[in-house]
Symmetry: C2
Subunit: 383 residues, 2 copies
């Protein structure tokens, strides 16, 4: 009953669509020099494209996200991952904007990735899938928008890895991007961020079921992937949000404790999150996408100010006080580099205890900022 | 040559000693109610015990530490783990104090632990070893000191898990402990700290070579233990110290990158640290000791102020600005509870970029604090 009401108030039922492009011999050239094609991208759209196609907002997602950002899929218990931000009257208002949410290549949510069938062999790519970068993800999204006949984007927005795609969009296709909203993100992974990802990758590759990535149709490396997810999950929360959610609460054990099964609720929760992740994510995709995150360096080893000079978009940058995965100082580096280029940038550090996950849950603070920003951008374009 | 000079200036060659006690039928009763005995503790001593036995300083160690805190073992490339703090003229001055460093039970450095032979079966305990707590570690150390005829301790000092033992010493044996120096520590693990340990344990138990803990004499669960250590190692450093040590430096790869072998120096370093840890630490001990850390709650679910009321020692509490494993606010909670009890406490937050590892490397700052504190304690006892 409650779900019906929520559905009515929101976008209702939505469907994922699929576009295929870069068909041989016109494969897409990746940053590594390798070629990839054909490429399929999963995407969803919400709202209506206006006549002059000036109301397009592109939403890009984080590590484990997908094209299903808002509305409901038939039979699902939960709406899309950013449903609290996308819909009628919401931050990304579907009564004003035509929203496209595009999946990334390398993933496992309907787009071409390591689990896809390699047309040359008729078998899943596995580790023969080429390494992809954030640039490659964005290039594929550009081809998708080309196919849709879209030439300008009012705004591109996303949190975490989504924010990295936003930044790349702004400098790789500056004529196309009118405004950019990178949230809880960074221009390059630090040693600590690389280290945390590497432990996750090592956990997957240490799982004997991983089999060098050739496990499709066999037993999946469930324990390794669950471990990787557990590590990730700790970095998405804050010390404080974990303390508030779990503290030192014990789970009732019939055995009375003092063994190595889960004692604390937080252990149980992490195990549950790890195990459920395995049902919905491909271990090889986890390897490819975390590697893309680690390789990402917007400045390409040079100065960030030089890299951002290419951008022509207006920026709204959002960080969260308790985000220790992509701490605020990393957002401030972007602000500083944009200001040095005299680029229009608004910055807000939203106070939140939710850690990195704040970009998924701090609806009110983000909505106010984004609504005003988008309205201003639209007004200034018309003026 | 350089090593010889360092050895001459310091303690020179030292040896680990072993004491055995709690022989059946006088086993030690653990916090869980289980009995353990006989118990062997490895320990080292530096300096001379004075006539009235009033110059004893007990040093207790962190997760992967051992009894070898200072001086050199024959043939070793490195001195003991706190050699920069213990020796003639150093923070713990061996010309003034008789230093005892005791290993912990549950470990694998010469003291009774899961790798020890269970006298009842003639085989290694493995997971039949009872779960131990910080209280149990301290109780065993008390039995060691009893055997040595020591009735008063001028100071008990240690960092990280050592700090937890220090706190437990101060409230379990208040008449014995004249002063306490808990460094970079906490009175109870938060959900985040438990979560990080649990991921390490899961990594070990997911290794097929772990075999339910019954791997002695067979292949050890090397990959799982290395993973656990890698996670730990990230938490011992700070974002900044990792950035300064590694940044995004790449290791030269003949293959030219774009694969899943180590690309970044930080990945290589972590892998190296993980792999070398496996040579010197037992996976089951890692399980037991991290569990002891997680169970630790000085207040035993009550008020910290009430728990610390029992203490009669003077306290010096040291925290480090960039320690995110045991952040300063956790040390401040101890200070607050001690002050509420009108207990003599000095507190210093040392500015350092080294993260949790600072207690091992910030020699100058710590030495000044500790020297003055110990001198004051000795003076006030005599007065």
């Amino acid at each position: 009953m409650k779900k019906d009401i929520i559905q009515k108030e929101g976008l209702g039922t939505v469907e994922t669509k699929y576009a295929t492009f870069a068909e041989p011999p016109h494969e897409m050239v990746l940053e590594s020099g390798a070629k990839l094609g054909p490429i399929t991208l999963a995407y969803e759209t919400y709202g209506e494209l206006n006549k002059d196609k000036s109301n397009v907002v592109l939403i890009v997602h984080a590590l484990s996200g997908d094209a299903h950002a808002a509305g409901w899929h038939d039979g699902d218990k939960h709406p899309g991952w950013w449903d609290n931000m996308i819909g009628p009257g919401k931050a990304f208002d579907t009564e004003k904007y035509f929203i496209i949410c595009s999946n990334v290549i390398g993933g496992c949510k309907g787009s071409t990735g390591p689990a896809s069938i390699n047309p040359k062999t008729g078998k899943p790519y596995g580790l023969s899938f080429p390494l992809i970068t954030i640039r490659d993800m964005v290039q594929a999204q550009k081809l998708l928008l080309d196919q849709m006949g879209i030439k300008k984007i009012l705004a591109v927005a996303g949190g975490s890895m989504g924010g990295q795609q936003v930044l790349k969009w702004a400098i790789d296709y500056p004529e196309m991007v009118r405004s950019a909203i990178p949230i809880a993100t960074t221009t390059r992974h630090t040693a600590q961020q690389i280290a945390l990802n590497e432990v996750g990758r090592q956990a997957i590759m240490a799982d004997p079921d991983w089999q060098g990535g050739d496990y499709y149709g066999k037993t999946i490396p469930a324990r390794g992937l669950a471990l990787a997810r557990m590590i990730g999950h700790i970095t998405y929360m804050s010390d404080k949000s974990m303390a508030e959610k779990f503290g030192r609460k014990l789970i009732s054990k019939e055995k009375g404790g003092f063994d190595f099964s889960q004692d604390f609720e937080v252990e149980n929760y992490l195990k549950y999150r790890g195990d459920s992740f395995v049902q919905r994510f491909d271990a090889n995709s986890y390897l490819y996408i975390t590697k893309a995150l680690d390789y990402f360096d917007l400045a390409e080893d040079g100065k960030l100010t030089d890299a951002l000079r290419k951008a022509k978009a207006k920026f709204l940058i959002i960080a969260f006080t308790s985000d220790w995965l992509y701490p605020t100082y990393q957002s401030k580096e972007i602000v500083k580099a944009l200001k040095a280029n005299d680029i229009d940038v608004s910055f807000c550090e939203v106070s939140s205890d939710y850690g990195h996950d704040a970009f998924l849950v701090e609806v009110e603070g983000q909505s106010r900022l984004i609504k005003h920003f988008l309205a201003r951008v639209q007004k200034e374009i018309k003026a």
